[in-house]
């Protein structure tokens, strides 16, 4: 029983950065823009948070700084992909390469210094009597709650509002949306930037909550896992919630095994989430091989009104 609770709590704290990044990716892809810059944006978000917090020791300012830095990268990606109509894959990879290198450079001075951070937690005493749930969710930090909240809001935004309809239309058929008076470029810019901000929050969470200590390349491929999880979650924010926690659980499981002193080299255990990603993607692809594809139809395709068909 206790093991389950500890594992679930660990799954949430390891899953939250994944979830932020997946949600950001969903917003990007729903308007038809592939954002492979996730990893780089997360790292920039993390290093910015680290530096700003060491300077100000103000959690709110740090939060804003992470948002601002990632929004800047999002703006670059949006400009390159939407206005310049360049290749989205190349732009995204460039952002990841840039983010990885630049964060390492910025982080040199702060590497290794532990952050004296205490993230406020929300105590829900009325949850206490419920077994399991009470123990897991009764004392969660505010950013984990924020992430769950964002997932739920995004769900209603995408499926229950006129904006959500426009979002789907822009990602599936930009030419139709344009004729219907929906601003394709406007929707794309807004959601690419908003999505990138969520990716930045992923980095923020990673360093402020998950492991308060800057290490070069500390995202360790989580950005790439998040990109795979977008597919796994079928572009649905609530599925994303479940998927992210599941993968967070796998991550945590690796650590648990280490404590059990099972004779498995720790490197293998650390591989679990990545191997699981490959297996899951293969499984999803195989399972849906006869189903109509559900990814946004115009994913990766720049839109130009006067393009001749």
């Amino acid at each position: 029983m206790d093991t389950a609770i500890i594992l679930m709590s660990a799954a949430i704290s390891a899953g939250t950065p994944l979830l932020f990044a997946v949600l950001g990716g969903i917003l990007n892809e729903k308007v038809g823009v592939i954002n492979l810059g996730t990893e780089g944006i997360m790292l920039i978000g993390a290093v910015t948070s680290c530096i700003v917090f060491l300077q100000t020791e103000n959690l709110f300012l740090t939060f804003l700084a992470a948002l601002l830095a990632s929004a800047g990268l999002g703006l670059i990606h949006a400009f390159v992909c939407i206005s310049l109509r360049a290749n989205q894959i190349v732009s995204g990879l460039a952002i990841t390469l840039f983010g990885t290198g630049f964060s390492a450079y910025l982080g040199k001075s702060v590497a290794g210094s532990a952050l004296p951070v205490s993230v406020p937690k929300i105590e829900l005493s009325w949850l206490e009597p419920i077994p399991f749930i009470g123990r897991v969710f009764g004392n969660l930090d505010i950013f984990s709650w924020l992430c769950i909240f964002v997932a739920i809001v995004m769900y209603f935004y995408m499926y229950k509002t006129s904006w959500g309809l426009h979002l789907k239309a822009v990602g599936d058929s930009p030419s139709t949306s344009d004729v219907m008076g929906v601003s394709v470029d406007g929707y794309r810019y807004f959601h690419v930037i908003l999505g990138s901000m969520l990716m930045g929050l992923s980095g923020f969470y990673l360093i402020m909550v998950y492991s308060p200590n800057w290490i070069e390349g500390m995202t360790a491929g989580r950005g790439w896992i998040a990109i795979a999880l977008i597919i796994f979650a079928r572009w649905n924010p609530l599925y994303a919630l479940a998927c992210a926690y599941f993968f967070g659980g796998l991550d945590a499981l690796g650590f648990r095994f280490q404590l059990l002193e099972v004779a498995i080299p720790s490197y293998f255990l650390k591989m679990i989430p990545y191997i699981a990603t490959i297996i899951v993607l293969m499984f999803v692809g195989w399972k849906n091989r006869h189903k109509p594809p559900i990814e946004p139809k115009a994913l990766g395709v720049p839109y130009f009104r006067e393009q001749r068909f």
Binding site: S162, L165, A169, D172, T176, V179, M180, G181
Partner: protein, 516 residues
Amino acid sequence: MTTYAVEMQGIVKTFGEVVACNHVNFSVKKGEIHALLGENGAGKSTIMSMLSGIYKADSGSISIHGHTSRIRSPKESMELGIGMVHQNFRLVPTLTAIENIILGEKKDVWRGASWRARKEEEIAIFANNYGLIFPMNVPIWHLSVGEQQRVEIVKTLYRGADIIIFDEPTSVLTPGEADQLFETMKELKRNGKTMIITTHKLKEVMTVADEISVMRKGEMIAHIKREDTTMQELAQLMVGRDLSQGFELPSIENGKRILIVEDLLVKGEQGMTALNKIGFTIHEHEIVGVAGVAGNGQKELAEALTGLIHWQDGTVILNKELLSKPSVQSLIDKGIAHIPENRMKSGLAGDLGIVDNLLFKTYRNKERTKFSLLQKKKNQKWAKELIEKFDVRTPDLHSPVKQLSGGNQQKLLFAREIDQEPKLIIALHPTQGLDVGATEAVHNMLIKLRATGSGVLLISEDLDEVMQLSDKILVIYNGQIQGVLSRDAADKDEIGQLMAGLEVRKEPIYESANLH
């Protein structure tokens, strides 16, 4: 008080070096149905796209209801009351009809269940007023083309358009659906709507239009009232010369059977059955036409017979040889040639030159390659001979073929395919998008192939073409052969009905093949 709904003056639009519209004047009176007639590439769609805000004119002025207007985006066009029913419908295929219709609405951000129910009722009543019926809550891609068009029309009306542009509206419809569309247009006219219809089909113009404007090669040639003209005159105006009045297909005895297909079952995209147990035979000296509305299995038929996809079940015998899971290469070697649907997508490599494109199917030959090295000089000479023989006009052998005109591209494609002396040629929409001259050239090549003993499977949406060229016509509907007609028994109305799936012949009249 002006009576013109639309006045366009001195409109110029160029794409790179191509002048699509050259000082075009075009006016439409309020409440009339105005036909804009012209061949493919005459500039009809371009000028309509400027009216609907998709293209911006380089110069010229547009007035709507007497007010000079600058239309800079589809949104502004819509605000002026202009709506367009596009040739390739502007519908989001993954959304339902309702969602597509309300897509442009900005008010009422929250879309709960009661809101949806209310809208659904509102739109159902609205659509019924015009007699336009379609499923409301199914994703668009499930709907038939006719239904999709109705959604597109309702969408336009619902958004308050009083000037409606129909861009080649019948190109995707069966004859029956087209008649229904014309009824709808007349109904809309009674409701005081102004309509513009672009088309190259003379009969439609004579059926539905009040006024007619004719365009040719980017220029406006004539404005006429329907009462004052005839089909012959219009044809002459549109093409710029007299149309040849069809031709007689010389009768030749059928030769041996080349291809026998029985109970062919093919799954298409997404695992849906594309061809459901169809059977037919093709003989030497025979053109077999396949008529049908696009998307009824024609593409899959061509792909299966050229080895691009494999069939699930059935028998295919080519020259007495039973085929099973043939590769593309083996079928090329066995003498099947292929004119694919989209010549620039799967027929030719646009960025490569003439020689390379001609080599695609023969580069393995000893003639073309020695010790795995291409015989450059020899191949150039060969290519030169071929393009002279097939009258491909090109600046030189190495300029990218995407710069050639559609007609020349198609002739190049035919040159490559015919050069291998095919036993069977499978031609998919071979004249789509070609002008009259190139179409004639393609028809002549097919007739020549027939004379030299090849079998031809001609898949086309152009019913006239199929009827003119075919010895035997198969009508395909929903993956099944709905009927088989011999050349002499072919009747346009009957084919039209079969194309719509209306009539099922219980007894197939094709000869059942002796397999052994």
